[in-house]
């Protein structure tokens, strides 16, 4: 992928896994604690309306935000074998596969334009509270984080700012991947997947020793290369192995979790050698609940590294993170959450002859304090106000406020609106970089680079239209400022160029999705997103590389998923996605189909056949030569889960 990759060798971008705010999902949830229920009589309990008939946690159902929750079942039925595959299930997210291992995620546009070194950097990815957003170049290396798919409990995809709870860079959205506690993954499970282009093997074993539940897993895969337009290999096949564990203790005083992963991967690249990626992390979390408060303390360490032998570029990054948060009821009508956190990034970059970071070794500090209050104004109306103050090594304090109003019109209708600010904070790639063409300085970082910022105004509806038919609609109007541009560093000569903040403007659009249980055995889930952009350069800006550098975004994309139970032990899932054309460089719109048929032949054995991108032998999701042709992929899968 991007930085330190042969094909896009001096385009930038990096990997990694980093910091985050723990199970803020829980803090964000607007659902009251179960505690409140224990004081009710049986009769009163029977009259409490509940928000969902779903078996999966629906903590966010009452939340005033555009949230799509990808459930465990949806992931299992889709046949997704990697995190990017699973993320395609969210209609408010656009996943673009640019090569065998190169995936880009974006929400609400500004999804990057690699040709001019702009990468999708306004979306945060957290895995059990650990950030996978790179602090080196800003963006997500989607080839690094991986999981055993069946250990994922749910993925919450929030489009719109989430900075007040989750911190900087949650400008256009947040992806929260939440894995199952170990006591939900006991027993042994072996999954083997094989096809001409992909082979995966994952083994997981879980059990319980008194109050301790544990699981350990190992996973490995290889994926064939994508191809170039002439049909030749894009030389980007990849191989990866990963091991990990999770332990959950249920103690009288609370619950403790310790989890970790380690991975290593090789990615082919044109020319000699392979890009090597590796990393390891360990996360510890302590949660305790009392009558009136919830406490959570989380810390993690994350190590990642990446090296591309072709141009000699490499980095090593270590992240230390500590977060604390407390939630409490204040009187009858208020719920408060507050917390604080600190994070340290230590990195060491091996400069190549054309891409240098000066200094190449540095420690970045990040700390924050936040508070959010949910006030019940009357039985139907909730006001949620919050503020995060975050301090970073480049721009100092970043206030990220958020105000939301939720109106529960009736049992089945929620209307909400919000105003919030979020910032995409600078990274060494913005401030410290030096790119050379031969011996000439071509592009330099800008020590005064400002955070890119958004003020987002949102309006949404979520409700049940009829039994079995639910609908969510949200619209946004985003006002951006200080978007990154390229300007001549001095007024007199053209080179070197320098990063600057000379673009502003607005975007607007909407996302809608529905879930329609047509019959016991058949569910349809349509969804789409629309985007319009109206951005411009500030007076005096050079306009170099054009407005299109903000992102080569489609004006819309749509998804339709059909899920059928064909009898008690057979399922058929088909998903059609359509992505509207890209403007610059241009790419025609495309439509693709993913399908999976599964048959549980015995309690212990499930067999399935799955195919992705079935409509075409190969297709482009991003214009060549940045994008490679993604080929049709058909696999057979066997899963063994002995009792």
């Amino acid at each position: 992928m991007r930085l330190f990759n042969g094909r896009a060798s001096h385009c930038a971008g990096l990997l990694c896994g980093l910091a985050g705010l723990a199970t803020m999902a829980q803090a964000h949830a607007s659902e009251p604690a179960s505690e409140d229920l224990a004081v009710l009589s049986l009769e009163e309990l029977g009259n409490v309306p509940v928000i969902s008939v779903s078996r999966s946690p629906q903590l966010l159902s009452g939340a005033a935000a555009a949230i799509y929750v990808i459930s465990h079942d949806e992931i299992a039925r889709s046949g997704a074998t990697s995190l990017p595959d699973a993320l395609r299930l969210a209609p408010n997210l656009l996943i673009t596969q640019q090569g065998s291992s190169n995936f880009v995620a974006a929400a609400r546009g500004l999804g990057g334009k690699p040709e001019v070194q702009n990468f999708s950097n306004k979306l945060l990815l957290l895995i059990d509270g650990r950030s996978a957003y790179s602090p080196l170049y800003s963006g997500i290396y989607l080839d690094a984080p991986d999981l055993v798919m069946e250990d994922i409990d749910r993925i919450e995809v929030i489009s719109g700012p989430g900075a007040t709870l989750w911190g900087a860079n949650a400008v256009n959205g947040v992806i929260n991947v939440i894995t199952r506690p170990a006591y939900l993954t006991d027993g042994t499970s072996v999954t083997a997947i094989a096809g001409p282009r992909e082979q995966d093997l994952s083994v997981r074993h879980g059990g319980e020793i008194n109050e301790l539940a544990y699981r350990v897993y190992a996973k490995g895969f290889q994926r064939d290369h994508a191809s170039l337009e002439d049909g030749s290999s894009a030389e980007d096949a990849w191989y990866k192995g990963q091991v990990g564990f999770r332990m959950d203790w249920s103690l009288a005083a609370g619950t403790a979790t310790l989890q970790g992963d380690a991975y290593s991967g090789l990615e082919d690249q044109p020319g000699p050698g392979k890009q090597a990626i590796s990393g390891a992390n360990v996360v510890g979390r302590w949660q305790t609940h009392t009558d009136r408060t919830d406490l959570q303390l989380q810390g993690y360490f994350d190590h990642s590294q990446r090296a591309a032998p072709m141009d000699g570029g490499a980095f090593v990054l270590n992240t230390f993170d500590l977060e604390f948060q407390q939630g409490m009821n204040v009187g009858a009508a208020q719920k408060m959450v507050w917390g604080a956190g600190a994070r340290l990034h230590r990195y060491d970059i091996a400069n190549s002859s054309t891409l240098l970071f000066l200094p190449s070794e540095r420690t970045l500090q990040l700390w924050n304090i936040f508070g959010q209050d949910t006030v019940t104004l009357n039985p139907a109306l909730r006001l949620i106000v919050g503020l995060k103050l975050e301090h970073n090594s480049f721009t100092g304090w970043e206030p990220q406020p958020d105000a939301r109003l939720a109106w529960q019109v009736n049992d089945s209708t929620l209307l909400w609106t919000s105003v919030s600010r979020a910032a995409r904070t600078p990274t060494p790639f913005d401030a410290d970089v030096l790119e050379k063409v031969g011996s000439v300085d071509f592009l330099t970082g800008n020590k005064d680079f400002e955070s890119e910022e958004v003020w987002a105004y949102e309006l949404g509806y979520r409700g049940a239209l009829a039994p079995g038919l639910s609908l969510s609609v949200s619209g946004f109007y985003n006002v951006y400022d200080e978007l990154r541009t390229i300007e001549p560093a001095s007024g007199t000569v053209f080179l070197p160029l320098r990063w600057d903040n000379q673009m502003q403007g607005h975007t607007y659009g909407m996302t809608a999705w529905a879930k329609w249980q047509i019959a016991d055995w058949w569910r349809l889930a349509p969804g789409f997103s629309l985007l319009r952009k109206d951005l411009h350069f500030k007076p005096g800006a050079s306009g170099l590389t054009g407005i299109g550098q903000s992102g080569n975004d489609p004006r819309g994309h749509a998804l339709l998923t059909s899920s059928m139970d064909l009898g008690p032990d057979r399922t058929l899932d088909v998903s059609i996605r359509h992505v509207v054309s890209l403007p610059d460089p241009a790419l025609p719109s495309y439509t693709e189909i993913t399908a999976r048929f599964a048959w549980r032949v015995s309690p212990a054995w499930e067999l399935s056949v799955a195919g992705t991108n079935l409509l075409h032998a190969s297709h482009l999701e991003y214009p060549a030569t940045t994008g490679a042709e993604i080929q049709r992929n058909v696999v057979a899968e066997a899963r063994w889960t002995p009792r």
Binding site: R55, P57, L184, R643
Partner: protein, 197 residues
């Protein structure tokens, strides 16, 4: 840093300030809150135990054990409820179980809908012991459970089988029966409920 770039944003900023003040005064009114299905079910499961009498009271130092087969969300919610509370004057322990061999010391067993396929087997195994078996399935009482949870009009309700309870050696209070949506086996007189509600 925040820059108020236009009038709308300035208005928003001053509006936020006003809201913060107002929130600080703690204005407001009681909440009508919406709960998740699992949290309401967990509350029910926890409360049922107070309306049932077991044949022999075990050593009070032993925890009162609620076993859950299936859903992790309910386990977490029950564990929250169990903190700082007692049932039958005993501390409460909530355990997720994966098989029948693990339920011997439990007083209550909740079987989540995930296990609907072999519900009958599970219930008949558990039913031989003095365990209050709670199912969560349409026609769940047919499997032989004592209590079955139902969703009625977006609310959690329950039905009781006094026959099944008697088979397990359990006495169900009339108070519980009076709230049940349906009682299978008749509302014969039962001993009064006991202890900690």
């Amino acid at each position: 840093m925040i820059r108020t770039r236009n009038a709308a944003q300035r208005r928003f900023a001053s509006g936020m300030a006003a809201v913060c003040l107002w929130v600080g005064w703690g204005v407001c009114c009681p909440a009508a809150e919406v709960h998740s299905e699992d949290s309401v079910k967990a509350a029910f499961i926890f409360r049922f135990a107070g309306y049932v009498e077991w044949p022999r009271e075990a050593d009070a130092s032993q925890p009162f054990t609620i076993a859950v087969m299936g859903s992790g969300d309910i386990v977490m919610r029950l564990q929250t409820l169990a903190l700082n509370r007692t049932l039958h004057n005993r501390p409460v322990k909530v355990r997720r179980v994966s098989g029948m061999r693990d339920v011997a010391d439990a007083q209550v067993l909740y079987i989540s809908p995930q296990h609907r396929a072999d519900l009958k087997n599970l219930v008949s195994t558990a039913g031989r012991k003095a365990i209050l078996v709670i199912t969560d399935e349409e026609q769940g009482l047919d499997s032989g459970s004592s209590i079955n949870l139902l969703m009625v009009d977006r609310r959690v309700r329950f039905e009781v089988s006094t026959e099944a309870a008697q088979r397990a050696g359990l006495a169900v209070s009339s108070e519980l029966l009076s709230v049940a949506t349906r009682v299978q086996g008749g509302r014969s007189p039962q001993p009064p409920p006991m202890s900690s509600r």
